[in-house]
Amino acid sequence: MTPSTAFLAIALVLLITMAAGLVRVIIGPSPADRMMAAQLLGTSGIAVLLLLAATLGIPALIDVGLIFALLAAVSVAAFTRRRIGQDRS
């Protein structure tokens, strides 16, 4: 078995894992749970992108992975931002 076939199979497994993680986005219960699941999606997505980059032979896909990492950080920061004047710390 060549590694690219194995990589594709593992990417498929990760995709199914991500789809299972989507259940947590949908059922919640709290918004923080949804945010967390979205973060998990980002991390697994980066892994899938890395595997695809190796399988399809497109190194540029890693730049998309960098954007995914940025996106996770920005959305978590936007999510946890407190209203001004609510908490002085």
Binding site: L15, M18, L61, V64, S75
Partner: protein, 93 residues
Amino acid sequence: MPTLLLLFDLVLLATLIVLALATVLSPEPRRAVMLFIAFGLWLALVWARLRAPDIALAEAAIGAGMGGALMLAAARRAAHRDEAAGGDGDKRA
């Protein structure tokens, strides 16, 4: 390998459609925004699979990232206004 690739595409597409439906049909704005971010990530994966890293980049950065952050802020403000107006907040779900 081709069979595996086909399976990969099928899972990718099926989940994309389910996500789109869940986003549109979600009654709660904040849940819809979360699902929209997830949808953007997923669509970026589809573009990556279609060998279009530049479009995947744009989709992830603008569609899911900036759009998602702005919509989060908007949903927060809308819910806040609802509450301030003495409405039932976003408990309509």
